[in-house]
Amino acid sequence: MKPKNLLRILLAFLFVFASTQTFAKTIKWSMQGDSLTLDPHAQNEGPTTQVSRQIYEALVTRGLDMSIGPQLATKWATVDENTWYFYLREDVKFSNGQAMTSEDVVFSILRAKQPTSDFKEYISTISGVKAIDDYTVQIKTSKPNPILLNQLSNIFIMSKEWCNENFAIVPQNWDASQETFSATNAMGTGPFKITLREPNTKTVFKRNSRWWGSMKDNKVTEIQLLPIKNAATRVAALLSGEIDLVTDAPVQDLARITSSAGHKVESTPQMRTIFLGMDQAADKLRTGNTGDNPFKKKAVRQALYQAIDIEAIKKKVMRGLSEPAGIITFPGVNGYTKDLDKRLPYDVNAAKKLLADAGYPNGFEVELRCPNDRYVNDEAICTAVVGMLGKIGVKVNLFAQTKSKHFKELKDNQGDFYMLGWGVPTLDSHYVFHYLYESGASWNKVNFSNSDVDAAIRVMEGEVDLDKRNAAIANAWKIVKDDISYLPLHHQVISWASKSDVDVPIRPNNEPLFRFASFN
């Protein structure tokens, strides 16, 4: 081989090497659990939406500052209080090359209203949707809806043709463990497309070359989601460089990660409240020993509430990174006040007395269901609660399992006493009431039912006079807080840890937006 050729070959290698180094970079992202399904309407759950958000887009969306802005719709207008017009972007293509038109939007909204959809509560006020022309959509609501845009920001738009071809016209029935094409495949208009999907192991997102928008940093060409359940293993993977970004860095390891020269940690209060639910409808606890249901009595619920030393949980389990909560909503949500967020005092003796007065001087037995890969230190919080309730004589048996089973069995009404966390993507109290407190609501597994609260929810949905609406919200919060329908624990604080040169802006809803990611 001539020296000149050798030089050329070497130069070619050098070029390829250098270009791959500069232009093609992968962000390896890890958290404790995986998306439950790729079907964007089948499960209303944090990590599931986090994954869908990279592939699918909605008419409007929240930006980095959490304010609503245009996405697939460029502008919108109301002609009367029940009729909305949305004007779509005309340059949007799905990742398979099809152009997106108003037919797809109409299809997707109707799809999200199907019985198997977990997002039907979001858009329950939408009574009609039709395409005016290729790029105009008319949405009719059954009553004036002041939070329609907030709600639409979580309804992802799918391709009608793709769904038709792949037998995915209705959302996957997740509660019945249905397997569909749309649960393992995704095709949207977003900045990324999924090229490999191994649930709970690896998901590869590649740049969608047909995306209409522009990336913050064009070097970000691939994202890999590698869920690692064990906290120590996840941190070890981050520190060894195997992982670039962890969106649920374990609180006990933040000091260790910060001390590493090549890594950084960011924390922000998360829009999520952790609480315990107690079934108040069953005549007899499934896992109890008293033959009745102690949770029906408010005194019992209050006894459990006052037996929980939330400050100890904050200090020892959460290492200071939590904010004790009095209601299931957090600062920043319409309807939240500091006053409502005050907790009943921690008082073991008062709790014992309440329990004795309610007719359970020797306590009772119940099983606490808990996820072990969903919230920050979820199982450890439950273990701590078991000990605290033991002190007032309530024998709690802990049953911790993976989140997909936990949620499924909860929806199947198998829980007497359970842990759940609730975020508020619409930033309005209505979302909490509509899912957690309304009679028969899909996540109201405490089976709370109060006609005044139901009436207040109707007001929240249809009242455009903001003062009247806020009064209804305040009233509803007061009723449910006095009733102690749930045991609020704390507002979560999330921490993201990443390599110093990987910059993914942290957001209070814990959703990374990789289109804003960059390398520095």
Binding site: L239, Q252, A255, D309, A312, K316, A380, G387, G390, L398
Partner: protein, 308 residues
């Protein structure tokens, strides 16, 4: 009575086993350590005032207290506390009791099953022997930890969840026992083959003693030496197997942790500097398994030099 005791004592004192024992410092040391561990584990209520298995006696504010000799340590928690405020020393001792119970029971289960099958196979021979021995060969090709995982998985499928926590220990004993019996079957069959052609067996057969009596009364005592050696080493293996299964999260539940469960729970805190939560159970397990192995080695050298 008195007279018999003295004879027994002198018999032990004059035996070659005793002689070899007092000449072996490792055997004496490991026996001493094991006696201490056994005493502390089975009489743990006398050793420590804490009961880590009673969640209502714990205080979360005590959690993550470092060992007593460090700056922030408290004298009442000598080895510190774990993430739930459990005293490490008490938790380790309670945990080692579970580990020892599971280990012993599993070995006894494997021993009864293995010796029963191995002895009868060696004695009767023929198709029965072939069947039993091929079966052990097949099982030996499957690593014992996989076998135990399989049994545990099946048991989880069959037993309802409410019962599972209570049954966890029995499932573990069965799982570990079933994965270890082929060793006992092989050794006892080989020893039986040697014994059964000896004159005392022929003599018994001729005077019409039944097969069962010959097997268990005459042959069994003569093959016990190699079986005991295998049993001692098997005990250490069983304890480690239990720790492995619990470490993988399929063993005893975290509310009543064994040594393996403790190591797993402590693993979450390795990076955060709370080293004592995983270190002490781990070092305790090492000492326990090492002592049993040393004792087993000594027994092998003394009782059955041929196995070397």
């Amino acid at each position: 009575m008195d007279n018999k005791n003295i004879t027994l004592f002198t018999r032990i004192k004059d035996s070659d086993v005793y002689f070899s024992f007092i000449k072996s410092p490792t055997a004496i040391l490991s026996t001493l350590i094991l006696i201490i561990i056994f005493f502390c584990s089975f009489f743990v209520e006398l050793v420590t005032p804490y009961n880590p298995f009673d969640p209502s006696s714990l205080s979360l504010m005590d959690a993550f207290t470092p060992p007593a000799w460090t700056e922030e340590g408290l004298a009442k928690f000598i080895l510190g506390t774990d993430g739930q405020g459990r005293d490490m020393l008490a938790t380790i001792l309670y945990g080692s009791r579970i580990s020892l119970i599971v280990g012993f029971s599993a070995v006894i289960f494997a021993l009864v099953l293995g010796v029963g099958l191995g002895l009868s196979a060696g004695y009767f021979g023929g198709k029965y022997e072939m069947f039993v021995m091929r079966f052990t060969d097949v099982q030996l090709t499957v690593p014992s930890i996989l076998m135990a995982l399989l049994v545990d998985g099946i048991a989880r499928g069959i037993i309802s969840r409410e019962l599972h926590d209570e049954m966890a220990i029995y499932v573990l004993i069965f799982a570990i026992g079933i994965s270890e019996w082929p060793q006992f079957a092989r050794v006892s069959r080989a020893a039986t083959l040697v014994e059964k052609n000896k004159d005392y067996v022929s003599a018994s057969t001729i005077i019409g003693v039944s097969n069962i009596i010959i097997m268990f009364k005459h042959i069994l005592p003569n093959i016990m030496r190699p079986v005991l050696v295998i049993g001692t080493i098997g005990l250490a293996l069983a304890i480690i197997a239990e720790a492995t299964l619990s470490f993988l999260g399929v063993g005893v539940p975290p509310t009543t942790p064994s040594l393996g469960t403790l190591i797993r729970l402590g693993n979450d805190f390795l990076f955060s500097g709370e080293w004592w939560i995983t270190f002490f159970p781990a070092i305790f397990l090492v000492i326990l398994a090492f002592s049993i192995n040393l004792l087993g080695d000594w027994m092998r050298d003394t009782l059955n030099p041929k196995l070397n």
